[in-house]
Symmetry: C2
Subunit: 180 residues, 2 copies
């Protein structure tokens, strides 16, 4: 059993919103602060928006990639990781109608999503939350944390991913930058 994680944007929170950018499709409403909480909605009336997601099993990672990821990936909440990004993505209906091996082929054999991500570990910590089966407006929320000196590397990671064949299937993407 998995409790959902809530990303609540509004007028209070541990993270200050530095910018919200719509990369593909509609944006999210402006907000000044963001709170990450597990299982329970944060108190306070009228958040600007709330996104929900659950950590779940790996969907594409194979037996060779998984131990390399586990060995290299840092935890969240490192004291020096004062920068964060929330990237919310929805993929097309055509993507979801593909067979498992077709999605894997686009994601990794053609787009190298897992390999590219490995290049930025352990500098950029990352956690993927699945939202699609919760009836959310986005399929995924990916949460990144990094120290300020990794900000350039993080932007490079996004540039490399956004030109891949996988990203042709992204029909909505919003990029929220935060600091604490």
């Amino acid at each position: 059993m998995t409790a959902a994680t809530l990303f609540t944007a509004g007028d209070a929170g541990a993270w200050q919103v530095e910018g919200i950018e719509a990369c593909v499709g509609a944006s999210l409403p402006e907000a000044a602060w963001l709170t990450v909480s597990v299982g329970v909605a944060t108190p306070g009336a009228g958040p600007a928006w709330t996104l929900r997601g659950v950590t779940s099993n790996q969907r594409y990672t194979n037996r060779h990639e998984q131990p390399r990821l586990l060995a290299k990936q840092p935890p969240l909440d490192r004291p020096e990781a004062t920068c964060a990004a929330l990237i919310a993505i929805r993929k097309s209906a055509a993507w979801w109608a593909l067979a498992q091996d077709e999605r894997r082929e686009i994601l990794e054999e053609r787009s190298h999503h897992i390999e590219i991500g490995l290049d930025y570990l352990p500098g950029v910590a990352r956690r993927l939350y699945h939202s699609r089966d919760l009836g959310e407006p986005f399929d995924f929320v990916t949460w990144f944390e990094y120290p300020p000196e990794q900000a350039g590397a993080f932007d490079e990671l996004l540039i490399r991913l956004r030109v891949t064949p996988e990203w042709e299937h992204v029909e909505r993407e919003v990029d929220v930058r935060l600091a604490r």
Copy 2:
């Protein structure tokens, strides 16, 4: 976006419960009737139990299997399909920690789950609902519908699946039989 389907057991419903059997682990409470509804809880106080799940993308089916399934699988709600079964399953934490290709190998290359299922199409209609990411007590609810003359074939399908290596990872399974 996917609305959850609710399976509500209690004292009213379109399906009469003929039996509830715990195959592995704890059973579900006895109930006389079951209702299948989409998105909204059924009215009436005090259901015996409610399970929730969402139809989602395929997790293991490859590009060769998917068109064969689509070509052979019948719809639900066929007038002659007056028998149904609800099979609720939870797999172990060790299963979910496996890499995607390791789970696929156990499920299909070693257990032939998809191939065995194809043998019983179009006699037995089947729909898989995913529950794990909703925080439910089971990972899946599979709903089957078949005419009475397919009851023996359906039991054979279950016997074949339950002796596979995949089933060694099942830590709870409840089998509910129904008729309308």
